[in-house]
Protein backbone atom coordinates (compact mmCIF):
# COMPACT_ATOMS: atom_id res chain seq x y z
CA UNK A 1 0.00 0.00 0.00
CA UNK A 2 1.30 3.47 -0.95
CA UNK A 3 1.86 5.77 1.98
CA UNK A 4 -0.15 8.92 1.69
CA UNK A 5 1.72 12.20 2.14
CA UNK A 6 0.25 15.52 3.18
CA UNK A 7 1.11 18.95 1.89
CA UNK A 8 -0.13 22.37 2.78
CA UNK A 9 -0.18 25.49 0.67
CA UNK A 10 0.56 28.98 1.94
CA UNK A 11 0.02 32.17 -0.01
CA UNK A 12 2.55 34.82 1.05
CA UNK A 13 -0.09 37.53 1.24
CA UNK A 14 0.70 37.26 4.94
CA UNK A 15 3.86 38.68 6.50
CA UNK A 16 6.81 36.30 6.56
CA UNK A 17 6.48 35.69 10.28
CA UNK A 18 2.90 34.46 9.93
CA UNK A 19 3.81 32.06 7.12
CA UNK A 20 6.71 30.76 9.23
CA UNK A 21 4.53 30.24 12.28
CA UNK A 22 1.96 28.38 10.16
CA UNK A 23 4.76 26.25 8.73
CA UNK A 24 6.10 25.42 12.20
CA UNK A 25 2.56 24.39 13.20
CA UNK A 26 2.24 22.29 10.03
CA UNK A 27 5.48 20.47 10.70
CA UNK A 28 4.38 19.64 14.25
CA UNK A 29 0.98 18.54 13.01
CA UNK A 30 2.52 15.92 10.75
CA UNK A 31 2.44 17.52 7.32
CA UNK A 32 5.17 16.36 4.96
CA UNK A 33 5.39 19.30 2.57
CA UNK A 34 4.91 23.05 2.55
CA UNK A 35 4.14 24.57 -0.85
CA UNK A 36 4.32 28.34 -1.20
CA UNK A 37 2.68 30.04 -4.16
CA UNK A 38 4.65 32.30 -6.48
CA UNK A 39 2.95 35.49 -7.68
CA UNK A 40 4.78 38.79 -8.08
CA UNK A 41 1.95 40.63 -6.31
CA UNK A 42 2.52 38.72 -3.07
CA UNK A 43 5.71 38.47 -1.02
CA UNK A 44 8.60 36.71 -2.69
CA UNK A 45 8.31 32.94 -2.65
CA UNK A 46 12.00 32.20 -2.06
CA UNK A 47 12.38 34.71 0.76
CA UNK A 48 9.32 33.08 2.34
CA UNK A 49 10.76 29.61 1.80
CA UNK A 50 14.18 30.57 3.18
CA UNK A 51 12.53 31.80 6.33
CA UNK A 52 10.40 28.65 6.62
CA UNK A 53 13.52 26.53 6.04
CA UNK A 54 15.28 28.32 8.87
CA UNK A 55 12.48 27.81 11.36
CA UNK A 56 11.63 24.18 10.55
CA UNK A 57 13.61 20.95 10.74
CA UNK A 58 11.88 18.13 8.93
CA UNK A 59 9.19 19.34 6.57
CA UNK A 60 9.95 19.56 2.84
CA UNK A 61 9.37 22.86 1.12
CA UNK A 62 9.25 24.44 -2.28
CA UNK A 63 7.52 26.78 -4.68
CA UNK A 64 4.04 25.53 -5.46
CA UNK A 65 4.18 26.51 -8.20
CA UNK A 66 6.56 28.85 -9.97
CA UNK A 67 6.47 29.45 -13.73
CA UNK A 68 9.12 29.77 -16.41
CA UNK A 69 7.70 32.97 -17.92
CA UNK A 70 8.36 35.33 -15.02
CA UNK A 71 11.46 33.52 -13.87
CA UNK A 72 13.94 31.83 -16.20
CA UNK A 73 14.45 28.16 -15.25
CA UNK A 74 18.17 28.67 -14.54
CA UNK A 75 17.16 31.20 -11.89
CA UNK A 76 14.57 28.79 -10.48
CA UNK A 77 17.31 26.16 -10.38
CA UNK A 78 19.61 28.63 -8.62
CA UNK A 79 16.90 29.52 -6.08
CA UNK A 80 16.02 25.94 -5.16
CA UNK A 81 19.69 24.94 -5.10
CA UNK A 82 20.45 27.80 -2.72
CA UNK A 83 17.47 26.89 -0.58
CA UNK A 84 18.82 23.35 -0.43
CA UNK A 85 21.86 24.72 1.34
CA UNK A 86 19.61 25.98 4.16
CA UNK A 87 17.48 22.83 4.18
CA UNK A 88 19.51 19.98 2.67
CA UNK A 89 17.36 17.24 1.19
CA UNK A 90 14.16 19.07 2.06
CA UNK A 91 13.65 21.08 -1.12
CA UNK A 92 11.03 20.30 -3.74
CA UNK A 93 10.21 22.38 -6.77
CA UNK A 94 6.79 22.87 -8.35
CA UNK A 95 6.55 24.47 -11.77
CA UNK A 96 3.59 25.19 -14.02
CA UNK A 97 2.52 27.65 -16.66
CA UNK A 98 1.37 30.30 -14.21
CA UNK A 99 -1.77 32.31 -14.06
CA UNK A 100 -2.66 33.86 -17.40
CA UNK A 101 -4.31 36.94 -15.88
CA UNK A 102 -1.39 37.73 -13.58
CA UNK A 103 1.14 37.25 -16.38
CA UNK A 104 -0.91 39.54 -18.64
CA UNK A 105 -0.56 42.40 -16.15
CA UNK A 106 3.16 42.47 -16.92
CA UNK A 107 2.74 41.87 -20.64
CA UNK A 108 3.82 38.23 -20.65
CA UNK A 109 2.07 35.60 -22.77
CA UNK A 110 2.05 31.90 -22.00
CA UNK A 111 3.84 30.89 -25.20
CA UNK A 112 4.43 27.20 -26.03
CA UNK A 113 3.44 26.03 -22.55
CA UNK A 114 4.28 22.37 -23.05
CA UNK A 115 7.71 23.11 -24.49
CA UNK A 116 8.36 25.71 -21.80
CA UNK A 117 7.66 23.22 -19.02
CA UNK A 118 9.50 20.34 -20.69
CA UNK A 119 12.60 22.50 -21.20
CA UNK A 120 12.35 23.99 -17.71
CA UNK A 121 12.26 20.60 -16.02
CA UNK A 122 15.31 19.55 -18.01
CA UNK A 123 17.20 22.75 -17.20
CA UNK A 124 16.37 22.62 -13.48
CA UNK A 125 17.45 18.98 -13.28
CA UNK A 126 20.66 19.52 -15.22
CA UNK A 127 21.63 22.60 -13.26
CA UNK A 128 20.87 21.14 -9.84
CA UNK A 129 22.61 17.86 -10.68
CA UNK A 130 25.83 19.83 -11.01
CA UNK A 131 26.54 18.89 -14.60
CA UNK A 132 25.16 22.15 -15.94
CA UNK A 133 22.77 22.82 -18.79
CA UNK A 134 23.29 22.64 -22.52
CA UNK A 135 19.88 22.68 -24.18
CA UNK A 136 18.55 23.53 -27.62
CA UNK A 137 14.94 23.35 -26.53
CA UNK A 138 11.83 24.60 -28.31
CA UNK A 139 11.25 27.22 -25.63
CA UNK A 140 14.66 27.75 -24.02
CA UNK A 141 18.17 27.66 -25.31
CA UNK A 142 20.95 27.31 -22.77
CA UNK A 143 24.60 26.94 -23.72
CA UNK A 144 26.97 25.90 -21.00
CA UNK A 145 25.20 27.27 -17.92
CA UNK A 146 26.71 25.90 -14.72
CA UNK A 147 26.74 26.72 -11.01
CA UNK A 148 29.95 27.59 -9.19
CA UNK A 149 28.67 25.69 -6.17
CA UNK A 150 27.53 22.14 -5.43
CA UNK A 151 23.96 21.13 -4.68
CA UNK A 152 24.54 17.78 -3.02
CA UNK A 153 21.27 16.00 -3.66
CA UNK A 154 18.63 15.82 -6.39
CA UNK A 155 15.68 18.18 -6.10
CA UNK A 156 12.38 16.59 -7.13
CA UNK A 157 10.51 18.58 -9.77
CA UNK A 158 6.72 18.55 -9.70
CA UNK A 159 4.60 19.80 -12.57
CA UNK A 160 1.46 21.78 -11.83
CA UNK A 161 -1.13 20.65 -14.36
CA UNK A 162 -4.78 20.93 -15.29
CA UNK A 163 -5.16 20.31 -19.02
CA UNK A 164 -4.81 16.86 -20.64
CA UNK A 165 -1.50 17.55 -22.40
CA UNK A 166 0.19 19.06 -19.35
CA UNK A 167 -1.07 16.22 -17.17
CA UNK A 168 0.34 13.77 -19.64
CA UNK A 169 3.68 15.61 -19.74
CA UNK A 170 3.79 15.53 -15.95
CA UNK A 171 3.31 11.76 -16.07
CA UNK A 172 6.05 11.46 -18.68
CA UNK A 173 8.80 13.54 -17.05
CA UNK A 174 7.78 14.81 -13.60
CA UNK A 175 8.97 13.50 -10.26
CA UNK A 176 5.50 14.47 -9.26
CA UNK A 177 2.35 16.11 -10.54
CA UNK A 178 0.27 18.69 -8.75
CA UNK A 179 -3.27 18.32 -10.08
CA UNK A 180 -5.29 21.43 -9.50
CA UNK A 181 -8.69 19.97 -8.66
CA UNK A 182 -10.85 19.03 -5.71
CA UNK A 183 -13.64 16.83 -7.08
CA UNK A 184 -13.20 13.10 -7.40
CA UNK A 185 -14.56 12.97 -10.96
CA UNK A 186 -12.20 15.70 -12.19
CA UNK A 187 -9.30 13.95 -10.53
CA UNK A 188 -10.20 10.58 -12.04
CA UNK A 189 -10.25 12.21 -15.47
CA UNK A 190 -6.92 13.91 -14.82
CA UNK A 191 -5.32 10.68 -13.70
CA UNK A 192 -6.12 9.04 -17.06
CA UNK A 193 -3.86 11.57 -18.75
CA UNK A 194 -1.14 11.23 -16.13
CA UNK A 195 -1.15 7.47 -16.67
CA UNK A 196 -0.95 7.95 -20.45
CA UNK A 197 2.13 10.11 -19.96
CA UNK A 198 3.69 7.61 -17.57
CA UNK A 199 3.25 4.88 -20.18
CA UNK A 200 4.64 7.09 -22.95
CA UNK A 201 7.69 7.84 -20.85
CA UNK A 202 8.25 4.13 -20.24
CA UNK A 203 7.83 4.66 -16.52
CA UNK A 204 5.63 3.26 -13.79
CA UNK A 205 3.17 5.16 -11.61
CA UNK A 206 5.24 4.54 -8.50
CA UNK A 207 7.83 6.95 -9.92
CA UNK A 208 5.35 9.82 -9.88
CA UNK A 209 4.10 11.44 -6.69
CA UNK A 210 0.47 12.21 -7.53
CA UNK A 211 -0.38 15.37 -5.65
CA UNK A 212 -3.92 16.67 -5.55
CA UNK A 213 -3.77 20.39 -4.96
CA UNK A 214 -7.17 21.23 -3.56
CA UNK A 215 -9.03 24.21 -2.34
CA UNK A 216 -9.53 23.12 1.25
CA UNK A 217 -11.60 24.47 4.10
CA UNK A 218 -12.24 22.67 7.36
CA UNK A 219 -13.91 23.57 10.65
CA UNK A 220 -15.82 21.78 13.37
CA UNK A 221 -18.74 24.01 12.39
CA UNK A 222 -19.49 23.30 8.69
CA UNK A 223 -20.97 26.79 8.18
CA UNK A 224 -17.61 28.31 9.10
CA UNK A 225 -15.85 26.04 6.63
CA UNK A 226 -18.25 27.15 3.88
CA UNK A 227 -17.81 30.80 4.82
CA UNK A 228 -14.03 30.50 4.39
CA UNK A 229 -14.28 28.53 1.14
CA UNK A 230 -16.81 30.79 -0.56
CA UNK A 231 -14.49 33.59 -1.84
CA UNK A 232 -11.95 31.07 -3.13
CA UNK A 233 -14.62 29.03 -4.88
CA UNK A 234 -16.10 32.22 -6.40
CA UNK A 235 -12.76 32.94 -8.07
CA UNK A 236 -12.42 29.35 -9.26
CA UNK A 237 -15.93 29.36 -10.74
CA UNK A 238 -15.31 32.73 -12.39
CA UNK A 239 -12.23 31.37 -14.15
CA UNK A 240 -13.45 27.85 -14.91
CA UNK A 241 -13.87 26.75 -18.53
CA UNK A 242 -17.42 26.14 -19.75
CA UNK A 243 -17.13 22.33 -20.16
CA UNK A 244 -15.90 21.98 -16.59
CA UNK A 245 -18.78 24.07 -15.26
CA UNK A 246 -21.29 22.08 -17.29
CA UNK A 247 -19.84 18.78 -16.13
CA UNK A 248 -20.77 19.84 -12.60
CA UNK A 249 -24.21 21.08 -13.61
CA UNK A 250 -23.27 24.73 -13.06
CA UNK A 251 -24.92 27.23 -15.38
CA UNK A 252 -22.47 29.30 -17.40
CA UNK A 253 -24.63 32.38 -16.73
CA UNK A 254 -24.21 31.89 -12.99
CA UNK A 255 -20.44 31.79 -13.40
CA UNK A 256 -20.55 34.89 -15.62
CA UNK A 257 -22.57 36.73 -13.01
CA UNK A 258 -20.02 35.89 -10.30
CA UNK A 259 -17.23 36.94 -12.64
CA UNK A 260 -18.91 40.29 -13.30
CA UNK A 261 -19.42 40.88 -9.60
CA UNK A 262 -15.73 40.23 -8.91
CA UNK A 263 -14.67 42.45 -11.81
CA UNK A 264 -16.79 45.30 -10.42
CA UNK A 265 -15.48 44.81 -6.89
CA UNK A 266 -18.96 43.79 -5.71
CA UNK A 267 -17.66 41.04 -3.47
CA UNK A 268 -20.80 40.53 -1.41
CA UNK A 269 -22.90 40.20 -4.56
CA UNK A 270 -20.40 37.85 -6.19
CA UNK A 271 -19.81 35.64 -3.18
CA UNK A 272 -23.54 35.55 -2.43
CA UNK A 273 -24.09 33.67 -5.67
CA UNK A 274 -21.81 30.79 -4.76
CA UNK A 275 -23.97 27.70 -4.36
CA UNK A 276 -23.57 24.47 -2.44
CA UNK A 277 -22.99 22.69 -5.76
CA UNK A 278 -20.11 25.03 -6.55
CA UNK A 279 -18.53 24.48 -3.13
CA UNK A 280 -18.90 20.74 -3.61
CA UNK A 281 -17.37 20.81 -7.11
CA UNK A 282 -14.42 23.07 -6.46
CA UNK A 283 -13.36 22.51 -2.89
CA UNK A 284 -13.05 20.01 -0.11
CA UNK A 285 -15.03 21.70 2.57
CA UNK A 286 -16.72 20.79 5.81
CA UNK A 287 -16.21 19.12 9.15
CA UNK A 288 -13.15 16.96 9.81
CA UNK A 289 -15.22 13.82 9.17
CA UNK A 290 -16.53 15.11 5.83
CA UNK A 291 -13.03 16.12 4.74
CA UNK A 292 -11.56 12.83 5.91
CA UNK A 293 -14.07 10.91 3.79
CA UNK A 294 -13.26 12.96 0.68
CA UNK A 295 -9.49 12.68 1.17
CA UNK A 296 -9.74 8.97 1.82
CA UNK A 297 -11.60 8.36 -1.42
CA UNK A 298 -8.92 10.27 -3.36
CA UNK A 299 -6.27 8.01 -1.83
CA UNK A 300 -8.18 5.02 -3.16
CA UNK A 301 -8.12 6.28 -6.74
CA UNK A 302 -4.39 6.95 -6.94
CA UNK A 303 -3.53 10.12 -5.03
CA UNK A 304 -0.24 9.84 -3.16
CA UNK A 305 -0.06 13.38 -1.78
CA UNK A 306 -2.98 15.45 -0.56
CA UNK A 307 -2.33 19.17 -0.63
CA UNK A 308 -4.56 21.29 1.56
CA UNK A 309 -4.68 24.53 -0.39
CA UNK A 310 -6.21 27.87 0.45
CA UNK A 311 -8.15 28.90 2.43
CA UNK A 312 -7.69 25.97 4.92
CA UNK A 313 -10.39 27.52 7.13
CA UNK A 314 -11.44 30.71 8.85
CA UNK A 315 -8.74 30.05 11.44
CA UNK A 316 -5.68 28.79 9.59
CA UNK A 317 -3.74 27.61 12.64
CA UNK A 318 -6.83 25.91 14.03
CA UNK A 319 -7.42 24.05 10.76
CA UNK A 320 -3.80 22.91 10.63
CA UNK A 321 -4.07 21.56 14.16
CA UNK A 322 -7.37 19.78 13.51
CA UNK A 323 -5.86 18.29 10.36
CA UNK A 324 -2.95 17.00 12.40
CA UNK A 325 -5.17 15.59 15.11
CA UNK A 326 -8.11 14.21 13.16
CA UNK A 327 -7.06 13.60 9.55
CA UNK A 328 -3.41 12.57 9.30
CA UNK A 329 -3.43 9.89 12.03
CA UNK A 330 -6.60 8.32 10.67
CA UNK A 331 -5.23 8.08 7.13
CA UNK A 332 -1.74 6.94 7.95
CA UNK A 333 -2.25 4.42 10.73
CA UNK A 334 -5.66 2.78 9.99
Amino acid sequence: MVELKFGVEFVPMNPYWKTSLFAIESERSGFDNVWITDHYNNRNVYVSLAQVATYTERIKLGPGVTNPYMIHPVMTAQAVASLNEIAPGRVICGIGVGDKTTLATVGIEQQSPLAAIRDSVQIIRDMTSGKGSQLEGKAFKVSGAKFFFKVGNPIPVYIGAQGPKMLSLAGEIGDGVLINASHRRDIENALKFVREGVARGGRTMDKVDVGIYTSFSMAEDPAKAVKAATPVVAYIVAGAPQPLLESHGIQVQAAESIKNGIARGKWKEAFGQVTTEMIEAFSICGTPDTCLERIDELGKIGMTQFVAGSPLGLKVRGSIRIFGEQIIPRLTHD
Binding site: Y16, W17, V316, R317
Partner: protein, 96 residues
Protein backbone atom coordinates in the same frame (compact mmCIF):
# COMPACT_ATOMS: atom_id res chain seq x y z
CA UNK B 1 9.28 49.72 31.31
CA UNK B 2 6.80 47.05 30.36
CA UNK B 3 5.14 46.54 33.73
CA UNK B 4 2.94 43.73 32.55
CA UNK B 5 5.93 41.52 31.84
CA UNK B 6 6.79 40.81 35.47
CA UNK B 7 3.49 39.17 36.50
CA UNK B 8 3.95 36.49 33.83
CA UNK B 9 6.33 34.80 36.28
CA UNK B 10 3.40 34.29 38.62
CA UNK B 11 1.27 32.43 36.10
CA UNK B 12 0.53 28.91 37.18
CA UNK B 13 2.53 26.64 34.83
CA UNK B 14 -0.58 24.50 34.25
CA UNK B 15 -2.39 27.53 32.77
CA UNK B 16 0.44 28.74 30.54
CA UNK B 17 -0.28 26.46 27.60
CA UNK B 18 -3.88 27.62 27.24
CA UNK B 19 -2.97 31.30 27.57
CA UNK B 20 -0.13 30.90 25.10
CA UNK B 21 -2.52 29.29 22.59
CA UNK B 22 -5.12 32.03 23.01
CA UNK B 23 -2.55 34.81 22.58
CA UNK B 24 -0.95 33.16 19.56
CA UNK B 25 -4.35 32.76 17.88
CA UNK B 26 -5.16 36.39 18.61
CA UNK B 27 -1.87 37.52 17.06
CA UNK B 28 -2.21 35.29 13.99
CA UNK B 29 -5.79 36.39 13.38
CA UNK B 30 -4.94 40.06 13.74
CA UNK B 31 -5.44 42.38 10.83
CA UNK B 32 -2.68 44.60 12.24
CA UNK B 33 0.18 42.26 11.43
CA UNK B 34 2.26 45.13 10.06
CA UNK B 35 2.53 46.61 13.57
CA UNK B 36 4.84 43.81 14.66
CA UNK B 37 8.47 44.91 14.62
CA UNK B 38 10.97 42.66 12.82
CA UNK B 39 12.82 42.13 16.11
CA UNK B 40 9.71 40.98 17.93
CA UNK B 41 8.67 38.83 14.94
CA UNK B 42 12.05 37.11 15.13
CA UNK B 43 11.70 36.54 18.87
CA UNK B 44 8.24 35.08 18.26
CA UNK B 45 9.48 32.69 15.58
CA UNK B 46 12.53 31.71 17.64
CA UNK B 47 10.36 30.92 20.64
CA UNK B 48 7.91 28.96 18.47
CA UNK B 49 10.71 26.94 16.91
CA UNK B 50 12.14 26.12 20.33
CA UNK B 51 8.68 25.25 21.69
CA UNK B 52 9.05 28.00 24.27
CA UNK B 53 5.87 29.99 23.66
CA UNK B 54 4.30 28.72 26.86
CA UNK B 55 7.35 29.45 29.01
CA UNK B 56 7.67 32.66 31.00
CA UNK B 57 9.82 34.21 28.26
CA UNK B 58 7.51 32.99 25.53
CA UNK B 59 4.47 34.47 27.25
CA UNK B 60 6.26 37.78 27.60
CA UNK B 61 6.94 37.79 23.84
CA UNK B 62 3.31 36.93 23.13
CA UNK B 63 2.10 39.68 25.46
CA UNK B 64 4.36 42.25 23.84
CA UNK B 65 3.14 41.19 20.41
CA UNK B 66 -0.49 41.10 21.51
CA UNK B 67 -0.18 44.57 23.06
CA UNK B 68 1.19 45.94 19.81
CA UNK B 69 -1.23 44.25 17.45
CA UNK B 70 -4.45 43.95 19.45
CA UNK B 71 -4.18 45.77 22.79
CA UNK B 72 -7.85 45.62 23.70
CA UNK B 73 -8.37 42.03 22.63
CA UNK B 74 -5.25 41.05 24.53
CA UNK B 75 -6.50 42.58 27.78
CA UNK B 76 -9.89 41.02 27.08
CA UNK B 77 -8.30 37.58 26.70
CA UNK B 78 -6.33 37.99 29.92
CA UNK B 79 -9.47 39.01 31.81
CA UNK B 80 -11.52 36.20 30.32
CA UNK B 81 -8.91 33.66 31.37
CA UNK B 82 -8.68 35.08 34.89
CA UNK B 83 -5.33 36.87 34.73
CA UNK B 84 -6.67 40.09 36.18
CA UNK B 85 -3.39 41.48 37.53
CA UNK B 86 -1.73 40.95 34.19
CA UNK B 87 -4.67 42.56 32.39
CA UNK B 88 -4.53 45.54 34.72
CA UNK B 89 -0.77 46.02 34.19
CA UNK B 90 -1.21 45.71 30.45
CA UNK B 91 -3.96 48.35 30.50
CA UNK B 92 -1.67 50.70 32.40
CA UNK B 93 1.13 50.11 29.93
CA UNK B 94 -1.02 50.92 26.95
CA UNK B 95 -2.58 53.88 28.69
CA UNK B 96 -6.15 52.62 29.00
Amino acid sequence: MLRYVEPTAKIDPSKREKLSDSLLDLILDSGNADRLTPELARSLMDAARRRELSTETGLQILLKAGALLEPEKTTGTLEAEGFLELASELKKSIGK
